[in-house]
Amino acid sequence: MAEQAQQESTSLSAVVADVATGVALALEGECGSYALSGVLAQDDAVALAAIRVLGADVLAPYALHGGAARGGADETVVRKALAAYPPRADASEVSVWTYRGLVEASRAYLPGGPGGWPPEPPAESEWVRTEPWPRLAHRASQLAALSLPGLAPGLAADLAVRTEDLARGFVRAVRRRDWLQAAGLGRWLARLPDVPETLGLDAGLRYVRRMGDSDARVTLQVTAARRFHGRGA
């Protein structure tokens, strides 16, 4: 059992990395027209789980290029992912927000079918106001896909109140060599106004990109920060 779980976990990580790489390349404009269904090698439970892990980012290239031209196959696979992994009653806030982000992105970037998309579940954001900054920053970094333009405007507005705290989280994450957390925070900061100048966000994003380049998800985050918000170029 444990061995099987290990294999599934490894397999999920590999698929997540493959999709993240495909998205990042598409954001760089290096792979022609993007299709999520094109970067998924298979259409099984692991692929659907990978879509849930990456959330709205699986559709990020459409945010850059104005929506899916041929959304049929992508629409089908995203619907499957939403149906396969809905947030459970005891789901973490991160899980609910990630699901919600994927629904929002689907509505925004994919052509809706006759039945429309699932309703967006209510997501709690009290933690943005109350959590101490290290925990706030960690959680925000896990939701970096929601920093795509136009998504989660309420969450972005709440986070903007704590820009300094997110910037402190970036400092702490880099010191801990937690490149994924740093990249996610750097990406949020790229979207938010009034980032302290002395943080050195552009240099920080370049630094994190190079130091964390063995992780495709790091590359995806810093690429998104540059392509959508012009930071870290």
Binding site: V171, G200, G204
Partner: protein, 351 residues
């Protein structure tokens, strides 16, 4: 303190104190509300008195050998004595509790006695006329109004040379030398602001790029600029804003690594910033690292009771002194920029 490359001293910044009594009277005033309602004065005071009590019991370990000028190791004997003098002097002058001031006063006098009322410095300068550490160390006492004429006659010559003005590698350390020169009344050998501009603080180094050595450097930049917390108003506003923004991130990072002396220095820096919030949670965590007898380990867990005394001293003296110093600054946060008797006002030129 533990800036790498600092030999003796670590001391410095300053000016003289013509009216210690008046300055002390100012310290008796109630703590300023800028310290914030979250500042737990009872906790801070217990930490200060506990730390000083432990340090007081460690006097034998601070004692210098009879032939100190030739036998005392600058890093392992003179440096601790310089830190003892620098930090107890601040506590002596500013702590609102008589018990803390009394302990600190006794320790400061002890340190001066160990130098043979300053005679040691004349010998050190004769032995190493190019070295900066005798100047930095002597500056601590000169700031307190304790002078030694023979030392000052020698320094007037050695620090007048073109050689003395050759740029040194460590700009933070150079700030310390400049403060010492000011305290002693010597002509500053370089422009303070120009040197500050070359340091980690002056450059506003990217806060995420600084390693432990870099952050130690910044804490000392602050101590030299503010005369060890006595003159927070001297911090240029952009640099105060830089510190306000990033000290919480550094404090958290090194709390997690249990590097208690750096945590103490960062909390001291925080207390030097006008209007910066008191970090009650960080103080609680530092308090958790303090032994029942008052010692604070430099790093890691609380040392066991059966540790060898010498190891206990070397592993705790610096962080314990820093704790007393930082807790005193936090206790008196936003104390008046300078008491009526304090030396530096707008007229000062060296800083």
């Amino acid at each position: 303190m533990t800036v790498v490359g600092e030999a003796a001293g670590g001391a410095v910044a300053g000016g003289d104190v013509p009216g210690e009594a008046a300055e002390r009277a100012a310290a008796d005033e109630p703590a300023d509300p800028m310290a914030g309602p979250a500042a737990d004065h009872a906790l801070l005071d217990a930490m200060t008195v506990g730390a000083l009590t432990w340090i007081d019991g460690m006097r034998p370990a601070f004692r210098l050998p009879a032939a100190a000028a030739t036998e005392a190791d600058p890093d392992h004997a003179l440096k601790p004595l310089g830190e003892l003098a620098e930090l107890t002097h601040l506590v002596r002058d500013h702590h609102p509790l008589p018990a803390a001031r009394g302990l600190a006063d006794g320790l400061f006098r002890f340190a001066w006695e160990q130098t043979g009322q300053g005679e040691l410095f004349a010998e050190l300068v004769r032995n190493e006329p190019q070295a900066t550490y005798p100047v930095e160390l002597y500056g601590v006492f000169a700031r307190a109004g304790l002078h030694h004429s023979g030392t000052e006659e020698l320094l007037a010559v050695t620090t007048s040379l073109r050689h003395w003005r050759v740029a040194r590698e460590d700009h933070t350390r150079t700030l310390g030398v400049l403060n010492a020169e000011h305290r002693i009344g010597l002509t500053p050998h370089a422009d303070f602001d120009a040197v500050l501009a070359l340091t980690g603080l002056g450059r506003c180094a990217e806060p995420w790029a600084l390693d432990r050595h870099g952050v130690y450097g910044i804490t000392h930049d602050v101590f030299h600029v503010t005369d060890w917390g006595r003159a927070p108003h001297r911090m240029p506003t952009p640099l105060a804003e830089y510190l306000r923004l990033w000290t919480p991130a550094w404090t958290e990072t090194w709390l997690e690594e249990k590097l208690w002396d750096l945590v103490g220095e960062l909390l001291a820096v925080r207390a030097c910033l006008p209007g910066a919030a008191h970090d009650a949670a960080a103080w609680q965590r530092l308090a958790g690292a303090q032994r029942a007898d008052g010692a604070v380990p430099e790093t890691g867990s609380v040392p066991p009771d059966d540790i060898a005394p010498e190891d206990l001293f070397l592993g705790c003296y610096h962080s314990t002194l820093v704790t007393a110093f930082a807790a005193t600054l936090a206790r008196t946060a936003a104390m008046p920029p300078a008491s009526p008797a304090a030396p530096f006002r707008e007229s000062e030129t060296a800083l």
